[in-house]
Symmetry: C2
Subunit: 500 residues, 2 copies
């Protein structure tokens, strides 16, 4: 255990190294590191008394709260797994989570769905504890004694993510992976002690959780707000001298608008340049993370970010270069590395990687083929070594001996000025197994011929990837953000996919 | 292996991510990352053909060279252990190293001692390869094929350090520990891609090696010079736009003097403020590492630094706070944590820790007692949680039930304005087992009484730690930097030490 460092160990060390530092602010709650550490011990003891032990799951169904961090740390102290789930889901979706995870304890806040599930007998074998007074009674009831030695390679956090075959799966992240990822943020975001993070994004999302944990690791202060509210965010930034919040795009505009009169002092925020108005309110930060406008490529399964644009040094690939704690390879379907410039699946190894999905042995075997984590996304290595993210791999078209990824061809089509949207399918071909067919929606008033588009793709990609046929449609059918390939196959004659 | 990241993996990833970046500069040698990676593969294959396999040792006896980094990376690729030893040692000392380590291969540069050892038959069973042309032939002879999968927890580097019972021991550092430590430097030194490190300090010392590896990890450039030379250092900083070199104290004065006329442009150096002259030549850096003048506490066994003053945020303890990747506890001889303010042994766990000493099972058991690495140094926790380094533990005095560490009492004595130097021993005491006796050398022309000094210690430390007797001597006998306690015991009646 001499090389182990768990989340529980980090807060135990801060309790000694930073006795006066405020670890947590949440409404009227302010906890120093020793106070947080003591509550975590009491909570862990109380959970153990509820029967929670190594490998058991504890589920949070609620808004952001300091209780989320306490429960995660208490689970780490016991070797249990904490899962903050999206409580805004429908009752059926939450029922799936409960049955999938079989948590020993559920801590919940009332919503239509959680109230209905709580009321229904037999929903879950676990104990249900309501956030607030009941949770406080649980914490107070714990009598800390000896805790087990828990290796940092044990899963500590489960986050529901990627839907495969129509159901989400819980990515398991160990303390070692979470702290390695947090360290990569300390490097790229240049975080120092005193960093104060406002947890305004959802903590069931890795994008918020990863900064919460990096702030914990460097001994900073985590401020929690239940959900995003522009005015309240301004008030908290001012009152707590917040260094960074979970903000991008229209959220930044909303905050700038809420503070248009300059009512709040937001200068403690060290963040990304966005607009003249915003830049005048905050301190524009020069760390690689902020300079690169938080660019990169990531997913929950790698702990957050796999590559950082801030490490690109001006390279062409918009995903930048790998985190210092991982390796990235672009692999073909046979596990061999593809040549530079060719599309391949973004695959990874390293310290930040997850420990597989909870209770998905077949999927785990598939995702870790050849000893590399397969992200399910396509990328390309630029001549300068940086990585371009192309799009989700989803499925592959086989034409002769060649593998063709729809996302790569779609990207090429969309680079034509007349094209509004595009999707690519494979249609059965007696000679070549499949041939490429494009389905294209044009911009209003744009005109282009099938041959024009085929020629255009040939100027961007190897000739064998070009569509043989182009169908023009008013709109590409979608499932979420990606084309509805089943509908497209049905409407445009797709089929004969390899492995299908 | 999906979570593993070895030194070999890092250079393999850079070969892909940074194909045009110069990894190594050494005289006329300039290697990009792909070139370095290819040489490492050839060298690893050639070493394997020499019979080197997992766990075998490869020894370097020579000045600084890019070959040191190549050999380390090649050993990592094979699962072997690389040891750069201090070649300036006497023939007998080097003979001890050869017999202790039994290296499979020795790469050597001619010196009186190495030439003599090389000429003597039966010195070592391993193959001897001379640096330069013979080493180049070795590299050229390798035909890379498949290399074994090597877990990053395997030792990759051995550095001779701490002498116990009169002989040095080789601390084994795994890839995981070396890269975790490198990452801690990326955080505290705020290193970015493009960082160029001049390896002018000796690479058998962890202080140089740790920055060499952090520079490797972030994909920067390592420049090597055989040994420190102020004028040549200035030339290299100017020519290679060096970011940082291995410099402190009088070395900085020597460099500033060598460049007094401003012949070389040293503005690429981002470093510690030192003198008006120096500060005007370089760019004073604002990272926690440079701001705090590289303060902290460390030793080879923790990979370099265990605590950083740059993380102290103004706290009182000059060793600062622990690296983000370790835990520190101050333990008493029974393994229990001492109270804040009390002296205890600085003990550690975490990602940067060594894997024990090579072939020292008894010492390893002793150093890892109670599951914590015992540094052999004393520290104290200040009320703000920061750590003060007191001095080496060496041995303990037992007076009644109390444990008294000489270094703590010596520090108190030396804080008196009349005292030039002091050493503290235990003398047998029929009632208390031992009592404390101070041996003190006064400053020229200073006068002070025994009672004055005893009273002074009482104002700084708990009363039971005060000396009962003070002997005044012209000079404290030394062994290296520490008092020669055996000589002091013999001259001043010491004895009856616990456990002796």
């Amino acid at each position: 255990m001499i090389h182990s460092l768990s989340l529980s160990d980090v807060v135990a060390d801060h309790a000694r190294s930073r006795p006066q530092v405020v670890a947590v602010v949440d409404g009227g709650v302010r906890l120093t590191y020793p106070e947080l550490d003591a509550r975590v011990s009491r909570l862990a003891a109380a959970l153990a008394e509820q029967g929670v032990s190594g490998g058991d799951r504890v589920l949070w169904l609620g808004q952001n709260s300091h209780a989320v961090l306490e429960l995660l740390l208490a689970c780490s102290r016991l070797g249990a797994v904490f899962c903050p789930a999206n409580w805004r889901q429908a009752e059926d979706e939450l029922r799936f989570v409960l049955s999938d995870l079989s948590p020993a304890v559920v801590v919940w806040e009332p919503s239509d769905a959680t109230t209905a599930l709580h009321a229904r007998p037999g929903t879950s074998a676990g104990a249900w504890v309501q956030a607030g007074a009941e949770y406080e009674r649980l914490v107070a009831s714990g009598t800390p004694g000896e805790f087990p030695e828990v290796a940092d390679t044990e899963p500590a956090l489960a986050l529901y993510t990627a839907a495969f075959a129509g159901r989400p799966s819980a990515a398991l992240l160990s303390s070692a992976a979470l702290l390695a990822h947090a360290t990569s943020l300390l490097v790229v975001r240049q975080m120092e002690p005193g960093f104060t993070f406002l947890n305004n994004g959802p903590l069931f999302h890795v994008g918020t959780m990863m900064f919460c944990l990096a702030t914990l690791q460097i001994g900073g202060t985590n401020v929690f707000m239940p959900a995003f509210d522009a005015e309240e965010l301004c008030r908290l930034v001012d009152a707590e001298r917040v260094t960074q919040a979970f903000l991008f795009g229209q959220m930044i505009d909303a905050v700038a608008k809420a503070n248009a009169g300059g009512k709040y002092d937001l200068s403690s925020l060290r963040f990304v340049a966005h607009s003249a108005e915003w830049d005048g309110m905050i301190t524009v930060d020069d760390s690689p993370w902020c300079r690169s406008k938080m660019g990169g490529y990531g997913q929950t399964e790698v702990g957050g970010m796999l590559t950082f644009l801030g490490l690109a040094q001006g390279g062409a690939g918009f995903a930048g270069r790998p985190s210092p704690l991982v390796q990235v390879r672009l692999l073909g379907p046979d596990g061999a590395e593809v040549a530079a410039g060719e599309a391949g699946e973004i695959c990874a190894r390293g310290k930040t990687l997850f420990s597989g999905y909870f209770a998905r042995p077949d999927l785990n075997a598939e995702k870790s083929l050849y000893g590399w984590h397969h992200t399910g996304d396509l990328g390309r290595r630029e001549p300068d070594g940086t990585i371009t993210f192309i799009g989700p791999k989803l499925r592959m078209i086989k034409s002769g001996v060649e593998n063709i990824y729809p996302a790569e061809v779609e990207r090429a089509l969309k680079s034509h000025p007349a094209v509004a949207d595009a999707a690519v399918i494979g249609v059965p071909d007696p000679a070549w197994h499949q041939s490429v067919k494009a389905v294209v929606a044009l911009k209003p008033d744009a005109t282009v011929t099938e041959d024009d588009l085929i020629e255009h793709v040939k100027t961007v990609l190897a000739s064998y990837k070009k569509p043989r046929r182009v169908a023009f449609v008013p709109e590409i059918p979608k499932r979420g953000f990606t084309p509805d390939y089943d509908a497209l196959d049905a409407a445009h004659g797709g089929g004969n996919y390899p492995g299908a």
